[in-house]
């Protein structure tokens, strides 16, 4: 059964759920739980808020699933919901975009991991907000240019040029020689 499940597309899962299969949605959740949590975790200040927003995303998806039509990819659809919730949350809190504070106290993160992660985070914080969002969606959510364009309601060319500029900027910000942290040997790999 799990093997069969793995071969099923996201779209097929939603269709199964529409036919009344609870398991299908559970599988969809299993596939996206880390992605969704990561999405919010990198974009909000605190883990509890991230969890809450991820949960809301799945609940909204659960409610909207019966009306899902396979014109779009489930992935884009889910990230669309997540993006809307994120925007609503930011509007509510009234805060500008802030990168998540890194959980330095996490036992799983080694010192060297934590240090380079902090370096990355600081570099990202220096990017222009529009450029940064495109970059995050490409690098962490692994979305295609077209998906990003649909999500942010931008032309594909704009996505491409912003991504390029963000990467060029990061090339300088994360240049191997600049930091004093001495952990870039890993980053170069």
């Amino acid at each position: 059964m799990p093997a069969l499940r793995d071969m099923t597309t996201d779209e097929q899962l939603v269709e199964d759920f529409q036919r009344g299969s609870r398991d299908a949605f559970a599988e969809l959740f299993r596939r996206y739980r880390e992605k969704m949590y990561g999405f919010f975790r990198r974009r909000t200040e605190n883990p509890a808020r991230a969890e809450e927003l991820a949960q809301e995303t799945f609940l909204a998806a659960l409610k909207a699933a019966p009306r899902f039509e396979p014109r779009a990819l489930v992935r884009t659809w889910l990230f669309g919901i997540a993006m809307n919730l994120l925007r609503a949350d930011r509007r509510k809190v009234g805060q500008a975009f802030q990168l998540a504070s890194l959980p330095l106290d996490k036992a799983s993160a080694t010192d060297c991991d934590a240090a380079s992660a902090l370096w990355v985070r600081e570099a990202l914080a220096q990017l222009d907000e529009d450029h940064r969002e495109v970059l995050l969606l490409r690098e962490y959510e692994q979305l295609s240019y077209a998906e990003i364009a649909a999500l942010l309601a931008l032309p594909v060319n704009t996505v491409r040029s912003r991504l390029f500029r963000a990467r060029m900027a990061l090339r300088e910000l994360l240049a191997p020689r600049s930091p004093s942290l001495g952990t870039h040997d890993r980053a170069v790999m």
Binding site: G20, R22, F25, A26, F29, R33, E34, M36, Y37, G38, R41, R42, P47, E51, A54, Q55, F58, L59, A60, L62, K63, N84, A100, L102, P103, K106, S108, A109, D113, S116, A117, W119, V120, R121, L124, R138, E139, Y140, S144, Y145, R160, S161, L163, F164, R167, M168, L170, R171, L174, P176, H184, R186, A187, V188, M189
Partner: protein, 500 residues
């Protein structure tokens, strides 16, 4: 950097790395990168940046997320279940659905058809009564124009110009003798010595007894409409209401148009001797209140009188009081008073008489005068010479005089009645003896009474609720069905709006 002269755009290089280019273009770039150090350096840099970014990993999602989402998932499917079942029920068993709808229709029909039938019978009956009323009026107008009642209903039918055989007073349907499920039969009375029809009877009976109507009706020149549930109503049947007085005045008109002699026979039998309105009052104290009351009733009946009004009041531990107004035929007043006096201890008694002879004579004279005037006016009108304005003037005058004579007539009648029936005000007070053994009802009987009351009210409630359901249920169901889908749509829309 020499971007501008380079054959490959750096942005394309990035797109190539991201796998966003077509296969041809990707091959082109791959070939170029092999030869161009500048580009290879940039590709290296892009890869390095991506790797560096990968260092920012987030902790795994907390397990509490699973619990909350799966709880919501369970809740959603649970909520859906009954609906899906209902859908399945109706989808899978058309026979069930059919029989449910049939049962519903049957219930609605069972409730509404008898009501419909009853209401049709009621409306037919009402229509028959009103037809009889208008026939009475019409017969009187016919008589005032042609000097006698019609010989058949057909003579009242449409005609232009109106004539004795088609007076144009009723519509063709009624003139043919059938309307709204009732058949009307008109029979003229035997002709008088002068060959005129001076009386008539009309009966109305249902064409289809029990379906188009329940009762049959009867009326005659007196204007009283009588009803009977027997096959045919006749002059002995019960009158349906107070119609008589109004019609009597119509009859007076007829009499006036025919001449004063006819009226003289019918109206106002001459009162011999002085006319005296007698009143008496009597206050009694009695020990046997109930038997006294019965005795009063008996006396009134024996003397051919009636109760004007009767009132009994009293409290638990006090004597009861009866006050009544009796109307006793004047000539038997003395005897009746004597019997009433014997019913108990007399506390107070008065008798008085007021002579109204002069008043009556006066009324009679004025009435005769008014009728004579009316008669003359009718004669003037019947000759129909003169301008339209004059004719209208005369008609207005007739109406006024007629109204006046009706009023005088009623006054005279009332006066005569007062003279014929003396008024006795009687007041009976119970001689109260306090009862020593006022035994309160036992606990057992009180409990029993309470139980009976409770049962009664429970039954009443149940009947009330059932009545309401049967009476309002079908329409509630209908409106429910009409509003269910829009309301559900709205509700979903609102919930979606709040969720988003």
């Amino acid at each position: 950097m020499n971007h501008t002269t380079h054959p490959i755009e750096h942005e394309d290089l990035m797109a190539w790395l991201d796998g966003e280019l077509s296969a041809e273009r990707a091959e082109e770039i791959a070939a170029h990168v092999k030869t161009c150090d500048d580009c290879r350096g940039l590709v290296e840099d892009f890869r390095r940046v991506s790797n560096q970014l990968a260092a920012w990993q987030v902790e795994p999602a907390p397990t509490s997320l699973d619990a909350r989402v799966s709880a919501a998932l369970q809740a959603t499917t649970h909520k859906k279940a009954p609906f899906a079942q209902a859908k399945k029920f109706f989808a899978l068993r058309p026979a069930w659905r059919l029989s449910a709808v049939a049962a519903l229709l049957l219930i609605v029909a069972a409730i509404s058809i008898p009501n419909l039938l009853r209401s049709r019978i009621a409306s037919n009956e009402a229509s028959a009564v009103s037809s009889l009323r208008s026939l009475n009026t019409v017969c009187q107008s016919y008589a005032s124009t042609y000097g006698e009642f019609p010989e058949s209903l057909a003579q009242l039918g449409p005609g232009n110009p109106p004539s004795k055989n088609s007076a144009d007073l009723v519509d063709g349907v009624l003139a043919r003798g059938a309307k709204n499920g009732y058949l009307f039969t008109y029979s003229p009375g035997p002709p008088s010595a002068s060959g005129r029809v001076l009386s008539y009877t009309i009966t109305a009976h249902p064409l289809n007894a029990g379906k188009s109507g329940q009762r049959s009706f009867f009326t005659d020149q007196s204007g009283v409409i009588r009803a009977s549930t027997e096959l045919l109503a006749d002059a002995e049947s019960t009158p349906i209401g107070e119609w008589r007085t109004e019609q009597l005045s119509d009859k007076a008109q007829l009499a006036a148009s025919r001449g004063a002699n006819a009226a003289g026979e019918k109206q106002a039998p001459a009162q011999p001797g002085p006319m005296i309105v007698r009143t008496g009052s009597l206050a009694l104290v009695t020990k046997e209140f109930d038997s006294t009351r019965a005795a009063i009733q008996r006396i009134v009946e024996n003397y051919g009188g009636f109760f004007g009004q009767l009132n009994v009041s009293g409290e638990e531990n006090n004597g009861r009081t009866l006050t009544a107004t009796l109307r006793i035929p004047a000539e038997r007043l003395e005897k009746a008073m004597a019997e009433l006096r014997a019913l108990g201890r007399v506390k107070d008694e008065t008798q008085s008489g007021e002579e109204v002879t002069q008043q009556h004579v006066d009324l009679t004279a004025r009435l005769a005068n008014a009728r004579a005037t009316e008669k003359r006016l009718v004669e003037v009108l019947q000759q129909r010479t003169g301008k339209v304005g004059d004719v209208l003037e005369v008609e207005r005058e007739i109406a006024r005089v007629r109204g006046e004579s009706e009023k005088l007539d009623a006054e005279q009648r009332g006066l005569e009645k007062q003279v014929r029936f003396a008024t006795v005000h009687i007041r009976v007070t119970e001689d109260f003896r306090a009862q020593l053994e006022v035994a309160p009802p036992s606990t057992a009987s009180r409990l029993r009474n309470a139980a009976v009351e409770g049962y009664k009210s429970a039954v009443e409630n149940a009947i009330g609720v059932t009545e309401f359901l049967l009476g309002a249920g079908p329409s509630l169901l209908l409106w429910g069905l009409i509003f269910f889908w829009p309301a559900r749509l709205l509700w979903r829309h609102l919930r979606r709006a709040t969720a988003a």
